[in-house]
């Protein structure tokens, strides 16, 4: 299934367990090949000159050589063209890695000194262990309780820093393509037990995953837990569903654009909701007063995620049916709650949710078409 241009290298590669892992490895192998080529070329030239032009008598003075414009141009332009190609190929993979599909299964990740905590929408919670179904796109929505951590699964070729801050969730995605157990590492130095902040991801086939899901979690789904938090914390007294409250109704807002009092329009995504809980005065919905207190220190990161899951679950989110397979690289390009043809993809990198330029034009399609290593 996986074509290795340099078969002998396979022991030097981690398992290719995500949809984009083979692409990363193809580029890697191309770079290894280019490196070997240039190293051999230059080492051979040096060795040849070293022997052929060795000093034969102590008073020999070789004739000076002026230099050559042709050679200088050649070894400026040729490496430049080769590196342009590497740049474009690397950027293409990067765009793919950071163009978050919106038909993905959401897994909520919290990093803290020194453990990984995971929540599944169905309610399961895990520490330093993560169970995932094979063949599904997974979106990791990540926050940290303290310092910067970095969520790294080498077998997926996936890594992203999780930076503290009330207004940011960091999001990455991967599609596991292989069942098995793979390492989870923290890749950003985070203090004493940085090297102990490791875990395992277990990728299972769909039936095993369903069995696993039904195995635990007596406390209900994330949204259920969020609903009871919504009561306990008193959110419900203001954010009433009958539009009689002093605060905006939350039904159906998830994924939709909201108008702020300063005229700005903001998509009510995970990062926005988290910011609204932790620093409510940062963005005020048009027509409302800035009266909400901060819940900083009163809710844990996991509880915020449960609240988000609850808000997501209330109100009828319009279902989107992006046509699958419109793009290579298995990226779907519609924003939730919108017409897929009219809306560009959402690219999330950390705090910034970026709306990409219009679809195919700015997408990898623009990059070299002959690039090997497309999926399959």
């Amino acid at each position: 299934m996986i074509h290795h241009s340099l078969l002998a290298m396979s022991w030097m590669l981690p398992e290719q367990a995500s949809s984009y892992a083979p692409e990363v490895d193809h580029l890697y192998e191309f770079l290894v090949g280019t490196t070997i080529f240039f190293c051999v070329l230059i080492f051979a030239a040096i060795l040849f000159f070293f022997v052929k032009y060795r000093r034969r008598s102590s008073d020999e003075i070789p004739r000076p050589i002026a230099g050559s414009m042709v050679l200088e141009s050649a070894w400026t332009i040729i490496p430049f063209i080769i590196s342009l190609f590497m740049f474009a190929w690397g950027a293409k993979i990067y765009l793919q890695e950071y163009t978050i599909p919106n038909d993905a299964l959401d897994i909520y990740v919290v990093g803290k000194q020194w453990m990984w905590k995971f929540q599944h929408p169905e309610g399961q919670r895990e520490i330093n262990e993560l169970h995932l179904p094979v063949g599904r796109k997974i979106r990791f929505i990540m926050a940290t309780e303290d310092v910067i951590h970095s969520f790294f699964i080498p077998a997926f070729r996936m890594k992203e820093d999780i930076v503290p801050g009330p207004n940011r969730y960091t999001t990455v995605w991967a599609e596991p393509t292989m069942t098995g157990q793979f390492h989870i590492f923290c890749a950003e130095y985070c203090g004493t037990s940085h090297s102990g902040m490791i875990g395992w991801v277990t990728v299972m086939n769909d039936r095993d995953y369903q069995n696993w899901l039904s195995g635990g979690a007596a406390e209900g789904s994330m949204a259920d837990r969020g609903a009871s938090l919504f009561q306990q914390l008193g959110c419900i007294t203001c954010h009433r569903s009958d539009a009689q409250g002093q605060c905006p109704r939350l039904e159906g807002i998830y994924g939709k654009e909201q108008l702020m009092s300063d005229g700005q329009k903001v998509v009510a995504d995970d990062s926005y909701i988290r910011e609204s809980v932790l620093s409510p005065l940062a963005k005020i919905v048009a027509g409302y007063q800035p009266i909400m207190p901060s819940f900083q220190g009163q809710v844990s990161e996991e509880q915020i995620q449960e609240l988000i899951a609850y808000i997501k679950s209330i109100g009828p989110p319009e279902t989107t049916n992006a046509t699958p397979g419109t793009m290579k690289g298995s990226t779907k390009i519609s924003a939730p709650g919108s017409n897929p043809a009219a809306k560009p993809p959402i690219m999330t990198t950390g705090g910034a949710t970026i709306v990409a330029p219009q679809t195919e034009k700015a997408q990898p399609a623009q990059l070299p078409q002959q690039t090997p290593g497309q999926n399959q």
Partner: protein, 569 residues
């Protein structure tokens, strides 16, 4: 090779009847600690950077010993302090000052035919800054250590670490001023103190490289000082610049830190590139192929080096479009380095290649720097960097550039100019043996780390999964061999001070003004101001390259002048 008639300096003898030179012109501690002679200050620097290099090297060996077993030998807190100490000492107290402050200080005025640097007192002040910085950092290490890594990322460094972050920050701040003062001195000296006839394009490439380095130091180091000050302010007073809870941004720290620290890579490697041009040209007795391209590529690296810092932040939640721009610029900065490698290789063509140690170091540099540079193309590729950043791949990459590049360049230069500096030659046999041992040890240490990194081994791990052990053990074995090679070099250098052969003025038949004065040179470098009438790297039979200002030499060029060249000043 003819011995320089040192006794010919009649009337300029010490009371012991020795020829007068910068080493015996004044005795006692005071004559050294208050010296304004750039050559003596270079030696002060040599002692101090060597001291810290040995300390940093011991920490490197402790890292490798810890990683022999998957569980790690030391507890994690100790290990975190060890790798931080290794990084801080090697970067700020060895790599940044090593080549410029030792070789640059010693050679820059001599190579351009000047008596000293433009500001001799500032030069001495720069060494005192270095010493004070060294004291701060040593105290920080002894009094409990620092556990942030040399990168001091916030909020760990500002709100979480219980180690001596402030002391270390102050130390690095002061070390920064040491480099800034050296940088100012170099720039002013090159502009104003070149000897008659020493036009810009007659400058040795060593000078061009140091000039470019000085520019980077002057423009970059103040930003480091600002960044560390803000970090200290944040740690002490919680002003909120980097604290997200107060509207600050931890990633801002990374931008500011790398705005200095990426150009700092070029501060570390550009001077070594300058050394390599001298090694290759002088030991092949050949003018550097494409002199102007090599000179200009130093300036290009200095300029582009300031535009690529964001490639350290590809997974730091920086905008992906910024990431794409920084990736492109990073490829652009690779080109001038490639130009240098090709030109050095072409210089060997039809040369007269000596097999003496400086040439072997020069070739070793090219080999290791080539691998370091080529793997830079991997980490500049966005899709690959996501996987390999913060792993051992990056560790291996920058050690190939920093150790394979800067350290090999520094050692090569020390061998080329050892006779000039000390008046004694090093033992050739042992030097070649040590170089080969270092080369083998280096590759065995760091090559396995490329593989480890791609397999996913994260950096700064005190313990690791057992499947990585074989490669770690290989790496530790390599580090032991590398350490042995370094030890041999240190021993024979010290041995040669008493027992080495006396160095002639020009042991290599090299070109360049520093070979036209005695070894070691007199305090004022030249007994009379040289007039330069030859091009850079113009080689002539050694008998005709007289020592300037000595009897029998009227100070005139011994070679017929090939063409008319006006001076620029």
């Amino acid at each position: 090779m003819s011995m320089t008639p040192l006794t010919a300096t009649a009337g300029r003898l010490t009371s012991e009847g020795e020829p007068l030179n910068y080493l015996n012109n004044g005795h006692g501690l005071k004559s050294w600690l208050l010296t304004k002679d750039h050559k003596r200050i270079a030696l002060l620097y040599l002692f101090s950077v060597s001291f810290f290099f040995i300390i940093g090297g011991i920490f490197a060996l402790l890292i490798r010993i810890n990683l022999l077993s998957p569980e790690g030998l030391f507890n994690p807190d100790t290990y975190n302090r060890i790798f931080t100490a290794h990084g801080i000492i090697m970067v700020f107290l060895f790599l940044v000052p090593a080549v410029p402050a030792v070789l640059g200080n010693f050679l820059l005025p001599i190579m351009i035919g000047a008596k000293d640097l433009a500001f001799p007192k500032i030069n001495l002040l720069s060494w005192y800054c270095y010493v004070v910085a060294g004291i701060f950092l040593t105290v920080a290490l002894i009094a409990g250590g620092i556990d942030t890594g040399w990168t001091f990322y916030t909020p760990y460094s500002t709100s979480y670490s219980n180690s001596n972050v402030l002391l270390a920050g102050v130390g690095i701040f002061i070390a920064g001023f040491s480099s800034i003062l050296t940088g100012i001195n170099f720039i002013v000296t090159v502009h104003t103190m070149r000897a008659p006839g020493m036009t810009w394009f007659r400058l040795p490439l060593f000078i061009w490289a140091h000039y470019a380095t000085a520019l980077v130091i002057m423009l970059g180091t103040p930003v480091l000082a600002i960044t560390l000050s803000l970090m200290a302010l944040e740690r002490v007073a919680h002003v909120g610049i980097f604290d997200p809870a107060m509207g600050g941004d931890p990633v801002l720290f990374q931008h500011m830190f790398w705005f200095y620290s990426h150009p700092a890579v070029y501060i570390m490697v550009l001077p070594a590139m300058g050394v390599v041009s001298e090694l290759i040209a002088n030991l092949a007795r050949k003018n550097i192929f494409g002199y102007k391209f090599v000179a200009m590529s130093s300036l290009a690296i200095a300029v582009f080096g300031f535009l690529v810092w964001g490639h350290h932040l590809f997974v730091s939640t920086q905008s992906i479009y910024l990431g794409i721009i920084f990736s492109f610029l990073s490829y652009a900065v690779a080109i001038p380095s490639a130009i240098k490698v090709f030109n050095w290789t072409a210089t060997l063509f039809k040369g007269s290649i000596s097999y003496d140690t400086p040439m072997i170091y020069g070739l070793g540099f090219i080999g290791l720097f080539l691998i370091g540079g080529m793997t830079g193309l991997f980490v500049a590729a966005l899709g690959i960097d996501v996987h390999v950043t913060d792993t051992y791949f990056v560790i291996a990459h920058f050690h190939y550039v920093m150790v394979g590049g800067s350290l090999m360049g520094f050692l090569g230069g020390m061998h080329l100019w050892w006779g000039k500096i000390t008046g004694r030659m090093y033992p050739e046999y042992w030097a070649r043996a040590a170089m080969v041992i270092q080369f083998v040890g280096f590759n065995l240490t760091f090559f396995p780390q490329f593989i480890l990194g791609y397999l996913g081994m994260p950096r700064r791990y005190a313990a690791y999964p057992p499947e990585f052990q074989v490669l770690h053990v290989l790496s530790t074995a390599g580090a032991t061999i590398l350490g042995l090679g370094m030890l041999i070099t240190i021993i024979y250098f010290i041995w040669s001070l008493k027992n080495g052969e006396r160095a002639p003025a020009n042991p290599w038949g090299a070109s360049g003004l520093e070979w036209r004065t005695s070894s070691p040179p007199p305090t004022e470098n030249f007994l009379e101001t040289p007039v330069v009438t030859w091009e850079a790297y113009e080689f002539a039979p050694i008998e005709t390259m007289d020592v300037l200002g000595y009897p029998g030499d009227p100070g005139k060029p011994s070679q017929p002048v090939p063409a008319e060249h006006g001076t620029e000043d």
